[in-house]
């Protein structure tokens, strides 16, 4: 489906749910509210976007809305890609799961949950995937220290820390 046709059909079918963002680089992008995400993705799947390329998370802390879950879809017949961006609420972020629509969504959603703490309601097995099961905290959040919890413990020995990882070295020049 071509980007123009897609924008039109969005405007027709989901006037209030989908917000069209500008397209600086090739892939048209849209912002979707979490509550209507499933309907929109289902619609896209019917329109020929049969492959869910990727689900990724972004943490815009300290901005609000803080989290963003980014979906990349591909129409494998006509080679068109589309990006959906969905911002759940800051406290206790929850996004509906699409694991039943695409098999590839299940592990990808687990990864976003693991690294950002965004929960996917209705996911069949929402457990940690990269980090150990008993890990505390969500490593890719911006308020998570680079070297993990030990960064906070060792803060008083700042001078002994590896210079390469000193958080503000490069930016302060």
């Amino acid at each position: 489906m071509k980007p123009e046709a897609l924008s039109e059909s969005f405007a027709r079918s989901f006037p209030s749910e989908v917000e069209t963002l500008e397209t600086p680089f090739e892939i048209p992008q849209y912002r979707v509210k979490p509550e209507s995400l499933r309907v929109v993705l289902q619609f896209l799947k019917q329109q020929g976007y049969t492959m869910l390329l990727d689900i990724g998370g972004v943490d815009y802390h300290p901005k609000s809305p803080r989290f963003e879950v980014v979906y990349h879809l591909l129409d494998i017949q006509s080679n068109d890609r589309v990006r959906l961006r969905c911002s759940p609420q800051d406290e206790d972020p929850v996004v509906p799961s699409v694991a039943d629509l695409w098999a590839s969504a299940a592990p990808a959603e687990r990864e976003v949950f693991d690294l950002f703490g965004v929960r996917f309601s209705g996911h069949p097995n929402l457990t940690r995937i990269l980090m150990p099961d008993d890990w505390e905290g969500y490593p890719l959040r911006k308020d998570y220290p680079l070297r993990g919890p030990r960064d906070e413990v060792e803060a008083k020995f700042a001078a002994e820390r590896n210079r390469y990882y000193a958080p503000k070295l490069a930016g302060d020049l």
């Binding site: 992008q29 990724g56 080679n79 592990p107 990269l130 680079l146 490069a170 020049l173």
Partner: protein
């Protein structure tokens, strides 16, 4: 930080399926393959439920090689991040470099000069050959054809020697940089590449002679590990694994990057999506890559190998010794790096395993705000159960081998 305890989640979040294998029926057996098992090609753990020799269920477990590369990249400057991103897909580091660099170049709105572009294409295809040769060797080893392993790795050695000559490093060259290359190729580049490419077809024919008509090998790879095209798309498979099912999706053709549109090459496609087809698609890809390399080698133009913009790429060392201005540029680039305009961009390339994409978010500073990788092997790993269920345990090895996951990329 709000902490979430998985045990406190409502019950509907927890899959009884994930635990079913732990409490199996009496006549079934649960075994754990890996994470330290030679045929898992890295650190994959598969929990298999067996009925006799048949695999009834399979649950992949990953994360043993998680090194936080995406988190590290956020703490490094745009240019430094190349070196950690390099280490994701360690059998094909240049495709990581290229996808990331293309994303950053898109944000910056610049394009590498023609000489750099042709060299990038050439090296990418040589890299694909190296990666496929490593795959061929390990696959042969897994399936009992041991001599293939030595021949294929010997051939791969020749490519690593080229990389050593070009970039100084054999495994993680970090050679593709923002705005061009790390340095120009050496004077003898054309000669050594031409020599290697000249020898390649005959040596590959030798390997094919060992395998293609070998009845033992064919018996082991035919009609196993099938996946239907619909399932393959639903699981997000890309690259040779998808093309073996008959779908000719190749990023080089679908969304041409660099100047792939200029080159004459075919995209090999299979029909059944089984191990046999995946083997043949990869073997034919080796020849197609060789074709592209030969074309690119003749076309490399003279000229700049990086953008001559002192705010973006390092000035030549001789100039730094002479000119104050250049010294300042050099210092600024090395210590602070470059500011990249605000934006989000997705760039993908065809790596030997499939579509590797980078979703890069910039906040306008000298460090990436977020580098999200779309790792092809990650999705391939979670499609393994679909291919392994119903097969024999011995065939599991063949399936993993031809899907060719690289765990540096899966776990990042």
């Amino acid at each position: 930080m709000a902490k979430l305890d998985p045990s406190q989640l409502p019950l509907e979040h927890i899959d009884p399926r994930g635990y079913r294998v732990e409490e199996s029926a009496d006549d079934r057996m649960v075994i754990s393959v890996g994470p330290h098992h030679p045929s898992t090609h890295g650190v994959l753990r598969l929990i298999l439920e067996l009925d006799g020799e048949t695999v009834v269920d399979c649950v992949p477990e990953i994360g043993f090689l998680h090194t936080g590369i995406e988190k590290n990249a956020e703490a490094l400057t745009w240019e430094q991040a190349i070196t950690v991103i390099d280490r994701m897909d360690y059998l094909s580091p240049l495709s990581n470099n290229l996808a990331y660099v293309l994303a950053v170049e898109k944000l910056l709105g610049v394009e590498a000069p023609p000489r750099a572009t042709y060299i990038r294409v050439l090296l990418m295809e040589i890299q694909r050959m190296a990666s496929h040769l490593a795959w061929l060797g390990t696959t042969g080893l897994d399936l009992g054809a041991q001599s293939i392993f030595f021949y294929a790795f010997d051939m791969r050695e020749g490519i690593l020697d080229i990389f050593e000559e070009v970039a100084g490093a054999r495994m993680n060259p970090s050679y593709i940089r923002i705005g061009g290359l790390a340095k120009d190729v050496p004077e003898n580049f054309n000669a050594i590449v031409a020599e290697y490419l000249g020898k390649f077809p005959n040596r590959l024919a030798d390997l094919e002679a060992i395998l293609n008509d070998n009845p033992i090998f064919l018996d082991r790879i035919r009609r196993i590990g099938r996946i239907s095209p619909e399932k393959a798309v639903a699981y997000g498979l890309t690259g040779p694994t998808l093309r073996a099912c008959g779908i000719d999706y190749d990023v080089r053709k679908a969304f041409p990057y660099l100047n792939y549109a200029e080159f004459d090459f075919d995209v090999p496609v299979g029909t059944h999506g089984d191990v046999y087809d995946r083997y043949h698609v990869r073997m034919r890809e080796l020849k197609e890559s060789h074709k592209i390399c030969c074309q690119a080698l003749d076309r490399i133009p003279k000229g700049d190998w990086k953008i001559q913009d002192r705010k973006l790429t390092l000035p030549p060392k001789e100039e730094v010794r002479q000119s104050m201005e250049s010294l300042i540029h050099h210092f600024k680039l090395v210590s602070y790096g470059i500011d990249v305009p605000v934006g989000e961009v997705y760039a993908s390339v065809e790596s030997p395993r499939g579509e590797i994409g980078y979703y890069v978010v910039s906040s306008g500073k000298n460090r990436p705000w977020r580098v999200r990788t779309r790792p092809p092997s990650f999705y391939h790993t979670f499609a393994l159960p679909e291919m392994i269920q119903g097969e024999l345990v011995a065939d599991m090895v063949a399936v993993i081998a031809t899907v060719d996951p690289v765990f540096g990329e899966v776990d990042r």
